[in-house]
């Protein structure tokens, strides 16, 4: 029955504005800034969120992502800029006037109210009829699979159950926009992973727009269709998870999202659509020419560990001899076995270190390398990313 849920009725609270169709812009953040004293927590952020999107704000603690979220919810008023929801500026509207709901970190459930009354709280404030509230609450309870727990108080629930109540409470009003502040941070790893899947499922099924704030890049990559990476109050890059990982725009993002090998150097010469970069630690590296031209001066070559191949003598793939122009000789300096993969640290003869992540595709370790073994680490120019340093 939950499949039949009407997509949203929050449009009604927004003064009759039609809810934009999926893919149309829903939220426009224009040059928003917020300072606390001399500290600029959010420093000129502009961003457009489309209806039906699952957007993640990712960044280290103190980067301003929570402040930005709190401005969307109305707990902070921006010093500058506009926040347009469905075309209407809500930057100065009070929290209770916005068709936006938030799922709080640590949930903020009302301890004196039962599960049912927690979920019904927002519906009662909206002046919904009693019978309608009962139906909606039952719907929500079924949606988050909390049947039979309606009369419990929050302190009689497990962490996972509390998380579900918080979600049901935030969804009950069918907001135009749901904000999730580190929604899974308080759960243990296994539960977190299964809940990630459920959240994505729910978001797709309800066709709602979610903005999640997280410091966990894996969580953001798993769930979001688009990620905005924040650093010191600014958006450093907005991209799909894949683009963020494979085409980071800066050295900082490359390091923040996933593991990466970085080699500092300078551009030496151009060879057709290839670039040769002389690095301090790994000699000359051949890389594909980046889409956006890089200037002269200091550059860095970034290569993800799983794209670095290892072999005993040299490139072994069929096309290897033509494409694997980058080959680095060294010895295994460190082995880190992670189950599905093993990460090797290779001390290069040229002085640097390179990390290679190798899938453990066979159960018996006939292919494994041992400490101090001589190996060749190689990778193709297309797997390298050139970054302005």
């Amino acid at each position: 029955m939950t499949d039949e849920l009407p997509r949203t009725d929050a449009a009604a609270n927004a003064g009759g504005d039609a809810y934009p169709a999926a893919g149309q812009p829903l939220l426009c953040i224009e040059g928003v800034a917020k300072a606390f004293g001399a500290f600029r927590a959010v420093d000129g952020v502009s961003l457009e969120i489309k209806a039906g999107e699952f957007f993640a704000l990712l960044g280290p603690s103190g980067c301003g992502k929570t402040t930005l979220l709190r401005m969307l919810a109305g707990f902070e008023a921006p010093d500058e800029g506009r926040i347009l929801l469905g075309g209407k500026d809500i930057a100065q509207a009070l929290p209770h006037e916005r068709p936006i709901n938030m799922m709080f970190q640590n949930y903020a459930l009302f301890p004196h109210l039962s599960v049912r009354d927690n979920i019904a709280f927002g519906l009662k404030r909206a002046g919904m009829a009693r019978a309608e509230i009962a139906t909606r609450v039952a719907e929500m309870v079924a949606l988050v699979k909390l049947e039979g727990l309606e009369k419990r108080k929050p302190d009689q629930l497990s962490g996972g159950q509390r998380q579900r109540v918080a979600l049901a409470r935030a969804l009950a009003r069918r907001p135009q926009l749901l904000l999730l502040d580190e929604p899974l941070a308080a759960l243990d790893k296994k539960l977190r992973e299964s809940t990630q899947g459920e959240l994505m499922e729910l978001q797709r099924r309800l066709g709602m727009t979610f903005i999640i704030v997280t410091h966990d890049q894996e969580e953001a990559m798993t769930m979001a269709s688009r990620i905005g990476v924040m650093k010191s109050g600014k958006l450093a890059q907005v991209a799909s998870p894949r683009e963020l990982y494979e085409a980071p725009r800066s050295r900082w993002i490359a390091e923040f999202v996933g593991d990466v090998n970085l080699f500092d150097g300078e551009s030496k010469l151009r060879d057709g659509h290839r670039l040769v970069i002389g690095t301090r630690d790994a000699g000359s590296l051949v890389v594909a020419e980046p889409r956006e031209p890089v200037g002269a001066g200091r550059l860095a070559v970034a290569i993800r560990p799983e794209k670095v191949k290892l072999s005993r003598r040299g490139p072994v793939s069929e096309a290897g001899h033509e494409t694997a122009i980058n080959r680095l000789d060294g010895v295994i300096a460190d082995i880190c076995y992670l189950g599905g993969t093993t990460t090797y640290k290779v001390k290069l003869d040229t002085g640097g270190m390179v990390q290679a992540s190798v899938a453990n595709s066979a159960r018996l370790d006939v292919d494994a390398y041992s400490l101090n073994q001589h190996v060749v680490a190689w990778f193709t120019p297309d797997d390298c990313v050139v970054l302005q340093s």
Partner: protein, 304 residues
Amino acid sequence: MSARRIFARPARFAAIAPYVWMVLFFLVPFAFVLKISLSQTAIAQPPYEPVFDLTAGWDALKSAFAALSVDNFRLIGSDDIYVFAYVRSLTVAVTATALLLLIGYPIAYGMARLPKNWQAVAMVLVIVPFWTSFLIRIYAWINILQHDGLLNQILLALHLVSQPVVWLSTDSAMYIGIVYSYLPFMILPLYATLAKMEPVLEEAASDLGAPPGAVFWLVTFPLSLPGVGAGVLLCFIPIVGEFVIPDLLAGSNSLMIGQTLWLEFFTNKDWPVASAAAIVLLVVLLLPLLLYERLQKRQLEQGR
């Protein structure tokens, strides 16, 4: 098992200690008072009879028991002076406690929302009056409230009144004194619960569409009820038996039960009637306590 053996004894002693205290300093004196309340006044030393003399033999003890009666309680029930005193005490206590709650709650709430280091300052400011003797503070109020006192001077200077107002020996003066003296006892428990409460709960309520007033009545106030209960009890019970403040600040035409007790003991030297009045007061005070307890239990059960 061995851990249990090591820790059980001191823990058990600690658990018994409050009971020993209660028996020694509450139940035993209470038994004395109860016995005196059932005796008759006499011009003797002590000023009542019968006196239980354990050395006088079994028969004397038996006749002493037979001489006990509930006459004093009948007297208290039938004499208007006592009934009025109880009613007045309860009225004053209810009014003063309501005033205290009205004044104390906003102060406690404001304190709980101050930045952390200012909270400590505010706390000290609330407690600091305790460093001066209670009596001196009440005498200071007499000074402020008298005919040419500070309050009248200010009112005259502001042209709010044209004649000095009579404050002393009025109920207003008494309420000022009581509210002033008991305010910390209302603020501190309220502050303790409000400071513990997470402000994010209020944010959650407003996020779910509650305007500020609804946030307060639906979330803040219900969650502060334990503090309200503690503050109300801490003020209400001693105010009912209050003796000094009404004696110094209020008029003498209607007395509170504390004053009546004092008169019986020290002016009339009627210990038995005074004891009976004290016991009735205790019963009257126990009622709100029991009610509070019942309420708390029901709240806990609702959670199941």
